[in-house]
């Protein structure tokens, strides 16, 4: 009965895709929906000890042919001599995200699953993730989406129906370990859903300049397998790599912080350099902060309206520059379907500049405010 209800809800929801209402207009919810935050945005805990071998590699999800088509032969520098994509065999799956309606703010709806891979290495403290990531996007049809969400809820309920709270390394996997029923079932689901024939986009974040610059690029795979560079919103035509540079002192002193500079209406170039921000007027900083909040708001921006570097850098710039140095206060997230405590950002604080929106820097789990907002929007969408 419960399964039918959820399936019906998803089927209906998929016929009516539209952007979620802006967060400011949402009223706080008091009852929790059937689908939880951690059902649609799943972060694997980084294991320690022998469980390190249980993190999934890309086998069966991301082929060497697709990876090479995207980023060249192993070791190939990306544009401007930015680092090569990590070795495919070094990648491990650290996160999965379900989006029932990518493109909603443009009145389009493409359901997809995104897998987040990172190169990992062993350390005394357990597995460490490098400060880079590969995202693989898989297109789903309505039936596949409904089945995937349903399976996720089932997996969670199989171990109890408690509320798992805000986004975090998945509490069930944290409790059971990667050899537990949840992780095992989830691995099976991932392999079923994320098949190479559904792969339609791969993106890359690398790190250079002694860990002070982050480089973003990506490719789209056409239906016939043709590969085209991801078009980056509001960046000059032909831009292959967009970069954020924090300066060698790590003090938001990059000149310029973003390369190339965006020509879009919402621009982080001013707040991305604390010295430039310091010389700006109050009005200019206010305007820049409002732009930053819009970039973090999935009802305002998506990858078609803002570039990857701005999106990934928004949180550290907000926390370490706008709030810490200029006293800006960030409004709390709200949702019409989720209570406020589900929207808590448990893994959003990092004294270092952490551009991981839903993955790891070293052993530090990083979940950005925008990811919380996006996940809430997904729950809202699925709950219609």
């Amino acid at each position: 009965m419960r399964r039918m209800g959820l399936g019906l809800c998803l089927a209906l929801a998929l016929t009516a895709c539209a952007a979620d209402e802006p967060e400011a207009q949402q009223a706080a919810a008091t009852e929790r929906p059937a689908v939880q935050m951690n059902d649609v945005s799943i972060l694997w805990p980084l294991p320690t000890g022998e469980e390190g071998d249980l993190l999934l590699g890309p086998d069966g999800m991301l082929t060497a042919e697709a990876y090479e088509a995207a980023f060249g032969a192993p070791g190939s520098h990306q544009a401007g001599g930015t680092p090569a994509a990590p070795a495919l065999e070094a990648l491990r799956l650290v996160a999965m995200r379900i989006d029932p309606c990518a493109g909603a703010i443009h009145d389009r709806c493409q359901a997809e699953v995104r897998l987040v891979f990172q190169p990992v290495r062993e350390s005394d403290a357990g597995l460490q993730a490098d400060d880079s990531a590969v995202h693989a996007f898989y297109a789903l049809d309505a039936d596949a989406l409904a089945a995937t969400v349903e399976r996720m809820v089932e997996l969670r309920r199989a171990g109890g129906d408690e509320h798992l709270g805000p986004l975090a390394p998945h509490p069930r996997m944290v409790a059971e370990g990667l050899s537990g029923n949840f992780a095992t079932g989830l691995a099976e689901l991932v392999r079923e859903v994320a098949t190479p024939d559904r792969l339609h986009k791969v993106t890359l974040m690398t790190n250079s300049a002694f860990g002070k610059a982050w480089n973003f690029s990506g490719v789209d795979f056409g239906v016939d397998g043709e590969v085209t560079r991801v078009t980056m919103a509001h960046l000059p035509a032909g831009t292959e790599v967009a970069s954020f540079f924090v300066g060698f002192q790590g003090d938001f002193g990059g000149e310029p912080p973003f390369s190339p500079a965006t020509v879009g209406p919402d621009d982080l170039q001013l707040l991305g350099n604390e010295h430039v921000a310091g010389r700006a007027t109050d009005d200019e900083r206010e305007e820049a902060f409002a732009a930053l909040l819009r970039i973090e708001d999935p009802s305002q921006h998506d990858p078609e309206t803002t570039d990857c570097a701005s999106c990934h850098a928004a949180q550290p710039i907000r926390q370490l520059v706008a709030e810490a140095q200029f006293g800006f206060v960030t409004p709390s997230l709200t949702s019409s379907v989720l209570p406020a405590d589900d929207l808590a950002q448990l893994h959003g604080e990092d004294a270092t500049v952490n551009l991981h929106m839903f993955s790891y820097k070293g052993r530090t789990a990083s979940i950005h405010r925008r990811t919380v907002a996006e996940t809430a929007a997904v729950i809202g969408w699925l709950s219609r």
């Binding site: 520098h77 401007g80 002694f210 480089n215 390369s259």
Partner: protein, 169 residues
């Protein structure tokens, strides 16, 4: 061409702009170790792009790395090289050459406190500039000495907005 003009051209192309002081290049093979040099740098084949940082490592025998930069727009850029502060044998050194402009050269030796070297040039769109990266020590090698530079660095070309009034133009 008269002799003096030829001399001047040769002088211009051979100028060793170590910015501190400079000795003759060392190009010979020493033992089994390959030795590149100012006049025979190792061409990385990499075209730098504005604002993108490229990481690399200087190793003994390969102490002169050559990059290329062809700006799409004219204007001021900062060529920057950063190496680890305090590194024992890598003191950042940059040499920018405009071969199309009678081998005009700008060179810089980095700040010893930060090991950041910055050379600011007003570049012309469409010109290709040679960007040579090395360590100051390599420009001071005596004949027969081998390169010892062994360390990581990162290099970039970053656009600058500078609004100077007309000077000697």
């Amino acid at each position: 061409m008269n002799r003096r003009r030829i001399m001047q051209g040769v002088a211009a192309s051979l100028l060793l702009l170590s910015a501190g002081c400079a000795d003759d290049d060392f190009e010979s093979q020493v033992g089994e170790l390959r030795q590149d040099s100012l006049n025979n740098p190792t061409d990385t084949g990499i075209d730098l792009e504005p604002g993108l940082w490229h990481d690399n490592v200087l190793v003994p025998g390969e102490g002169w790395h050559l990059y290329h930069f062809t700006p799409e727009q004219s204007g001021w850029v900062a060529f920057q090289m950063q190496a680890p502060p305090g590194h024992e044998n890598l003191w950042s050194y940059l040499r920018i050459v405009d071969p199309e402009h009678n081998n005009e050269v700008w060179a810089g030796v980095g700040n010893k406190r930060t090991n950041l070297c910055e050379v600011i040039v007003n570049v012309d769109a469409g010109h290709t500039y040679d960007v040579i990266v090395t360590s100051q020590e390599n420009s001071l090698l005596a004949a027969g000495a081998t390169q010892e530079t062994d360390g990581p660095y990162t290099v970039a070309v970053s656009p600058l907005t500078l609004d100077f009034e007309a000077g000697t133009e």
